[in-house]
Symmetry: D2
Subunit: 318 residues, 4 copies
């Protein structure tokens, strides 16, 4: 029996594209409540108030929306080397980059749906300026209370045409564990949730039925309580942000969720997982079938249709 | 540079002694909200509704109070062997036991203050009877809502005459990381918090100034929200349980806490950590000095005197 | 200018019919969390833990479901006489009854949709037995924490074929104020919310399009927080109670709501209004038009179809 | 038997003095979360986001701290006349004023401890500018989420050397009901809580043992949940506001409280009462004796000494 893999420490950041950079930045800073830590070229570096790294969101102006890359930090330099070897053996590697404002060199690769990932160990910690220094020294930044005031990056959800192939690939590439999945019929994998640590998931994939590749479903930041999710709903309402669905509780993973679209159209979530963690080293994936999914979310809310169809960038019809 | 150790998966259970077994059991089941999963000799096996193992609290009738042993589960059988070798090298080993109703063979050892620990991999999962089956299959048991309805074991706090020796020992024995500590003056270690995973801590030690050894400060179960901690306070109030301090927020670790004494006198906590996790693989211990501690808890509450002096079993004066 | 009327103190209780009395009683006591205070004939008297009167729900076994009567307590004996005179002038009076286990003589009348109301002043306070005595003497009963543990009766929602006629009648009969209303087009009154005190509403009417009369939409009990509404959703889920819609926030009145059907089919709500009160003595009714209603609930949830159509008793088709 | 009095609708506003007007204003707007609605001379008019009137706090620069006057709005113009007659019969009247930016003419009087009160009916409603218009039309202003974002004025607490005299005076002057009181020994009234409507209290008096008169203990604004009180504690902590005590729950009235000092030294509270209301028209005052008070607050917190001694303005020793 092989031992669990602990090479990857955690989801670190994602790069998100926007074709409305000013409006998106205003949303992420003043409504969602991230803090800017730097700028470089077309990108603004942002983070939640308790993200310990320089950034967890790289917002890059571009011609469209969607995700640029997804980054994980390894547990050590040696672990990084082991992962690179594993990824190269999978034939998925792109190669090394020099990093950016937020971290040192990183190794990039592609998943089977052509999303770009990177892994790195050498990071830059956030050093708060005096105006952002926390009253309690065990926090990365003061609790500023601005907008939804999300605490830290939690997970990312991608779309893929072949989720089954993804379910095979991600554990091999990142050493992730599958914690939950949706399987219709014999083996039609509709959705799959992965974790590299004790969080219930840091990465999810759901089916893309458009024929497009590399698309983005949403990124999620965590808040400390369900009450903060409810409060975020009022913040979004008053700021005329489009609320797609929620607040409600997912049956899958039990997360208390709220989904909105930022001004450029990327879906963004505010969520709370309560005290739920995956502590069992031999956790067995929970599999939901079609009958179970038909019951809707945890308390019976029917899943809104756009949740199954909407992603970024939009699919251009020819 | 050495890599982080991932041999231990999580705190698994503790054995607690009571000299008022009926009253203690009534408290733990009907007021604190644990569920009984079995009995064996003088012991009753109990667990929070989302603890995945057979038990997280072994309540054993005896002549006094305090802790019998503290148990951790390893991430694999091989990891168990590695830890046993490390512990034997420290000269702290006691030897193997056959386990009990809740798990297979386990290796026991002593910390420098003579608390007994055990580590094991082979476990028994909780299998809910039909009456306790959850509506959502990703939970270990239905949310019964009884009493404080605590979700899962969170951490244990022990007393030790030499916390500095403990700070040296635990990382070597369990591969734990020190996440926070209280150090007065140059190097007078007053308290130390350890974790083996992404939780902020699963084990804490604070100073015992009585000259006694092996004493117990408290065990803590997690709930999903601060609101549930507040609700627990009302439950304790109405059930005439002695509330020592809280609800309030610790400056150390930021935990929202509530401490009570179960009928036999052991201190028990209900707590919520919000979304706070230790994700950085190279987290540097946060050290609090005497000036910082003088400010009290996070929002200024002065720490109650008994919190520094009271432990179980009581110290018998001669 | 006439002065506001203060003759009615508060909504006091309703009588609910059930054709599944054992199941309904088990629901109201063990899942919803009311406490039984007495029995008489086919009726069981129930109340929330902080209802100060003997009962706020009279559950009566019968051949069908729906509401028996709705009762308000007056602010004095003289106020009762004034209301009786006003109601008699409206030609709506039925006459005096001797009361029951919960109160003294009461005057009954009918609204234009043939729902039976009663008003009284002479009441019986709940006297908790020792086992239900609260730890704090300003509460009516201990906080028992059983089931959803609702605190007090909050409001009742009735169906009526002509809500406009109701909007005219209720202020004349009870001295209520209209706090909010839904009016489509010029003057098509779809819903109307009334209050006799500082609560945002204690009575609501919405349209019944079936041609039937005297039907019941739901009764609501208040809890102290939105977190308790969320917790109630888990309690209902685990007890296999049908959740119709919620938790979510109403645009009208801003109430955080959760609707379920008790086993016999009557709709029951758990709700929290936050700190919202109607304090202005000259509050002007808030009127919602069709465009505004099309936006759904506060955070965009589309109102579920059954909410517009389902009531009790069921309408028998011939 | 006399009928209850309904002449006074609600506590409307207080005038607070500050000798640090810039710092106090910054606190009330950016940390406490009030919104400025106007300025006039040395005064700034402020209100919570759901206060319906032009202001609920008139902050006036002066040579010291403490309360200028306390204002209640009547339920009608006729009710105002009745109260004036009653107050004049008590010999407590000062006379009419023309009002200010927030309301029309008002009648002023003194309580036995020389605090100045005023009552009025003619008011000015808050009309939000476009930038403050709420998404839901039943709110007075958008939920801005700034600072502690308190919702509405809740109550004021004054100090008096003879609380027993106050207990006699206030019901006669305002028609208030005594809902709770603290009485030591035979009839030593230590504290008294009053209400004019269904709120549990809008006015409280506690003993001033300094020999001074007309002093101020605190003013309180309500938030919708206990979670918002906890959040406010973090906001205060990060903004280096002095937290005196809390968050915790009062035994008296059950309010969840948090007390801080604004920069000039006036004590300010953030509180939540849950769903607790005084609905009984014949509510009997709850009386707490010395033994009961010795138990501390609801969950056992010992009342901090300064709570018994500190008020504004400071007492100058000669």
């Amino acid at each position: 029996m092989t031992e669990p893999c602990f090479d990857i420490a955690h989801l670190a950041h994602i790069e998100l594209f926007t074709d409305q950079p000013d409006k998106s930045l205003d949303f992420f800073v003043n409504v969602y409540g991230l803090t800017e830590s730097g700028r470089d070229g077309d990108s603004v570096y942002l983070r939640g108030w308790d993200d310990y790294e320089f950034h967890s969101l790289k917002l890059t102006a571009g011609k469209t929306t969607g995700v640029g890359h997804i980054a994980y930090r390894t547990t050590s330099e040696a672990a990084l080397q082991r992962r690179v070897a594993a990824i190269e053996a999978l034939g998925a590697g792109i190669g090394w980059t020099d990093g950016d404002l937020g971290h040192g060199r990183a190794y990039r690769f592609r998943d089977p749906d052509n999303h770009v990932f990177e892994i790195y160990y050498d990071t830059r910690r956030y050093e708060p300026p005096a105006s952002e220094a926390p009253a309690l020294k065990n926090l990365a930044q003061r609790f500023h209370g601005r907008g939804a005031a999300v605490r830290r990056i939690d997970h990312v959800n991608l779309l893929a045409s072949d989720v089954k192939a993804i379910r095979d690939f991600i554990p091999k590439a990142l050493g992730s564990r599958v914690t939950e999945q949706i399987v219709f019929g014999e083996d039609d994998v509709m959705g799959c949730w992965f974790t590299v640590n004790n969080k219930t998931y840091d990465l999810a994939y759901t089916g893309d039925h458009t024929g497009a590749q590399g698309r983005f479903h949403h990124v999620t930041y965590a808040v400390d309580s369900r009450e903060e999710v409810l409060r975020a709903a009022d913040i979004f309402l008053e700021n005329r942000v489009y609320i797609e669905t929620g607040p409600h509780k997912h049956a899958v993973q039990g997360t208390f969720f709220l989904y909105v679209y930022e001004p450029a159209g990327n879906r963004v979530e505010v969520a709370n997982a309560g005290a739920r963690l995956i502590l069992a080293p031999d956790w067995q994936p929970v599999t939901w079938n079609e009958d179970e999914r038909r019951k809707g979310q945890a308390w019976g809310l029917k899943t809104i249709e756009s949740f199954h169809t909407y992603g970024t960038p939009p699919v251009v019809e020819h």
